[in-house]
Symmetry: C2
Subunit: 138 residues, 2 copies
């Protein structure tokens, strides 16, 4: 898989991964696709963080280049595209889950308590459902 | 806990967390403290990614402000400081573990296979050891 920036400075797996998603926006695009059902450019643009058009364009392009997202014409409107996570993209679910749990503990968030509880008490079941939903959308 | 940037744009726990560590460097500083035994400014500066002095200064300052890192005078040399993760900082261990496992699967890294195997097959044991090592260093 190609990473999005210049050649990495080390082979450290954390550094390599941050070359792909180490910025404030990329994981939010992954979140939109994984959890929010936002699979078009305009739906993502309408997200609660008001991502700028140029940043969203750039991040989607990088995610496609890195093999985490694929783009296809919308069957219901060929002028539009729909975005979809690849297997590498959906496999970031455990990373997002751990970020949510940490954030819920240490920051002020509006994460629904019942969802976070589920992540903590039935981690494997929660992750299996995320993958099953993704597979069903293929 | 204070986040490092301006007021977050939403209460999304992922967005909130990325306000703290959503950049290419912050999690590498956490990594240095958690896994590499680099607890001084000069040790971190000597890391394999050659972080720039001004970036390291900025990230350590932000991590202290966010309550993830504390700084104390070095007992063996009062002109130096030693950095240490707080409980909130060490609790990022599951996030880093999941990043390493994902990166090992999809990117080219030099992660030692036996360490990644251990993360995958004995996740709870691996994480308990990370915390125990941190507690022993208190």
């Amino acid at each position: 898989m190609r990473t999005r920036h210049d050649a990495p400075r080390s082979g450290c797996p954390i550094h390599q991964a941050l070359n792909v998603f180490g910025d404030p926006w990329t994981l939010l695009v992954i979140r939109d696709l994984m959890f929010k059902g936002r699979d078009t450019f305009s739906a993502m643009l309408g997200g609660e963080e008001h991502i700028a058009t140029n940043i969203l364009t750039d991040r989607l392009r990088r995610l496609e280049a890195a093999g985490l997202v694929v783009r296809a014409p919308d069957p219901s409107d060929a002028r539009r595209h729909r975005y979809r996570l690849t297997r590498a993209g959906i496999d970031l679910a455990p990373v997002l889950l751990e970020i949510v749990c940490w954030s819920d503990t240490y920051l002020e968030t509006d994460a629904p308590p019942e969802v976070v509880d589920r992540m903590r008490t039935d981690r494997a079941g929660f992750l299996a459902e995320v993958v099953a939903r993704w597979e069903a959308g293929a």
